[in-house]
């Protein structure tokens, strides 16, 4: 009994240590975002002043707005392209160069970001030289983000499509729906959860990318991560602490809501199965 108890204590200790390792830095960040002192490391009283300062900082809000716009647009386009790519990879009869196609699509996953960023920059510069227009701005960030997030979304979607029972699509075709109809009426609705998570993944990736955005953007467009990075480089800034705390709160809320919805669905599913078995 006593040895069990000790193991319990040890286990709890390890768990506490793990949590501390993961969440202590974030906790400190949140605490110091309410610090009234300008110096981040000294606590001198509770205050909302950095939050207020943050909402008065137009450059910061602008950057956040740019980031959201880019993330929204690039995630949407990336999901559309990735769906097409995943359909080609999983539903087309084997064709010449399919393996190569699959490898090329997912290459950005393993490519160092700097390489992706640099090559995109070179391409945009060449293209703008050709057309004689300035290419660097929100459009170039958007295009770059589509390119690199598409790889991730393709992986998510093709694994979902690969495990989808093909007889579902065959059954729909058997009942008189042509291929296009089958895709929109059967395939898409069934893989919708994967599409949503693919979109969220792309959105998140785009929202926190700093390397690629820094390479391909010009002076006309600054994303939030770029702004944060350039601000912090000049020394710790309590405003950034406030911003980061807001982001943490947002993410935590989304996670809790997601968990709650999933749990409720799972409970309902289990209840339905039990009901069916009882009547069956």
């Amino acid at each position: 009994m006593s040895s069990l108890h000790r193991t319990g204590l040890f286990g709890k200790g390890m768990l506490g240590f793990g949590y501390a390792f993961l969440y202590l830095p974030i906790l400190i960040l949140i605490i110091f975002s309410f610090n009234s002192s300008r110096i981040s490391t000294v606590w001198s009283g509770f205050s909302f002043k950095w939050y207020i300062a943050l909402f008065k900082d137009d450059a910061m809000l602008n950057a956040a707005w740019v980031s959201l716009k880019v993330a929204f647009a690039s995630a949407t386009v990336s999901v559309i392209l990735a769906t097409l790519a995943a359909m080609v990879l999983t539903r087309f009869r084997p064709f010449r160069g399919r393996t190569l196609f699959g490898a090329l699509i997912t290459a950005p996953l393993v490519m160092p970001e700097v390489v992706t960023a640099l090559s995109l920059l070179l391409m945009f510069t060449t293209v703008s030289g050709f057309f004689g227009t300035s290419s660097k701005g929100m459009l170039s960030i958007f295009l770059a983000h589509v390119t690199f997030t598409m790889a991730f979304v393709t992986v998510v979607l093709s694994s979902r499509l690969a495990e989808l029972d093909k007889s579902l699509e065959e059954a729909a075709m058997d009942l008189g729906a042509n291929r296009v109809k089958v895709f929109f009426v059967i395939t898409l609705p069934i893989i919708m959860p994967a599409l949503v998570s693919g979109w969220l993944l792309a959105f998140t990736l785009s929202l926190d990318d700093v390397v690629i955005a820094s390479f391909v953007s010009g002076p006309s467009a600054t994303t939030l991560p770029m702004k944060i990075f350039s601000t912090v480089r000049l020394g710790p800034n309590p405003k950034i602490n406030a911003l980061a705390s807001l982001l943490v709160m947002l993410v935590a809320q989304a996670a809790v809501i997601g968990w709650y919805i999933m749990q409720r669905q799972e409970k309902r599913r289990l209840r339905d199965i039990q009901l069916a078995l009882k009547e069956g």
Binding site: L168, M173, A177, I190, D272, L275, A276, G280
Partner: protein
């Protein structure tokens, strides 16, 4: 339980005889021949089973009928219409999938209505037809449920209703009982046959389960490595197999190898190293003296006795080596002096084990003149 074709269709025209006509169909995948030069005629209104082990080509043939695979060579005709160039969604053929393939995001009602909607049927008509189909399979009160809220048997009923809703000219069943447990299976077999017969729809099913094929089908095509080995009614295939493969695939059988000794017009005798006495066949066969043959004898055709039978042939003495008890009958594994083991059924008419034969008992096995089948070696 098996469907009776004569009762369903008293008279048949030549076109009805060839309602589904599979003409020299071959299907190759990258050099692997899945279906090898198969020709079949399936009658209107019959339940036809493609029976065979895994990889015998039965599923590929079914998929060729449905339109998911295109035959490499050969033609498929349905009611005189060539099917080869029609995509699945333009064929008057519907299929019930092994996994049922119910659309998980639609209710039972929407699932059954799906095919009708594709045809552009007016909404009130769809509603009426769906209700009619759900009535047929007794699933009306589940109309609003999603597939995951149904048990396996209920899902199967919905899948059946969905595949029958468009009144297809041909219904395909892919391992229809594959996903059900044994008890539900025999009940659903009967029910499915009743429904299909009630509607008079022509039906081709694929199964690896010989019992299922025998129970449900009017005729069976036995397939092996892409070819048809034998086509016939269940009792034809069971009682008159034309090959050792057919005899062994369906039910259990004793195969005794031997040589034709006398080949007369009205009887034949076979000498076998396994038996001390001759095998006597009560009718002529197409063979010649000295030909090597296999004599196939079903266990239930053998009589087990304590005393030696009076006849000079069709008997063997041996020792009971193993007994498999099935309740209604037991299967004795009897070892002959030659070392050959024969299986014989013994009906358990008496309740007390002490009155029956037991291990190491010496028994006589005997069979009638027409009990077995002579097969080419």
């Amino acid at each position: 339980m098996a469907a009776n074709p004569e009762a369903v269709r008293p008279e048949r025209s030549a076109a009805d005889e060839r309602y589904v006509f599979i003409d020299d169909v071959t299907k190759e995948f990258d050099g692997f021949v899945a279906v090898d030069d198969v020709s079949l005629s399936i009658r209107k209104g019959e339940i036809f089973a493609l029976l065979g082990g895994s990889g015998c080509g039965k599923s590929t043939l079914l998929r060729c009928l449905a339109g998911f695979e295109k035959p490499t060579t050969g033609r498929i005709l349905l009611d005189g219409q060539p099917m080869n160039d029609l995509p699945p969604y333009e064929r008057p053929i519907n299929m019930m999938f092994q996994s049922y393939a119910l659309f998980p995001h639609m209710t039972v009602e929407q699932n059954v209505a799906f095919g009708l909607k594709q045809d552009g049927m007016p909404k009130p008509d769809i509603k009426r037809r769906v209700e009619e189909m759900l009535n047929l399979v007794q699933m009306v009160k589940f109309a609003g449920r999603k597939p995951h809220q149904l048990s396996g048997g209920q899902q199967q009923r919905v899948a059946l209703a969905r595949s029958l809703a468009k009144s297809p000219k041909l219904l395909l069943l892919d391992e229809p009982m594959g996903a059900l447990d044994k008890k539900l299976r025999s009940q659903m077999q009967l029910e499915l046959v009743n429904i299909v017969e009630k509607l008079g729809v022509t039906c081709v099913m694929v199964t690896h389960d010989q019992e299922e094929a025998m129970t449900m089908a009017t005729r069976i095509a036995l397939m092996d490595s892409g070819r048809i080995r034998q086509v016939g009614t269940p009792d034809e295939i069971y009682e008159q197999p034309t090959s050792r493969f057919a005899a062994e695939f369906i039910g259990s059988v004793n195969i005794i190898e031997g040589v034709i000794k006398d080949d007369e017009k009205d009887f034949v005798t076979i000498q076998s190293a396994a038996l001390a006495h001759l095998i006597h066949i009560g009718h002529g066969i197409s063979g010649f003296e000295g030909q090597r043959v296999n004599f196939a004898l079903r266990p239930e055709k053998i009589t087990v006795t304590k005393d030696e039978p009076a006849d000079a042939h069709n008997k063997a003495q041996g020792v009971i080596e193993d007994i498999a008890y099935f309740g209604s009958h037991s299967v004795f594994h009897v070892r002959l002096p030659s070392g050959t083991r024969l299986m014989a059924h013994f009906a358990n008419r008496k309740r007390w084990a002490s009155e029956n034969f037991t291990w190491t008992d010496k028994v006589w096995l005997s069979w009638g003149d027409n009990a077995g089948v002579v097969l080419p070696a």
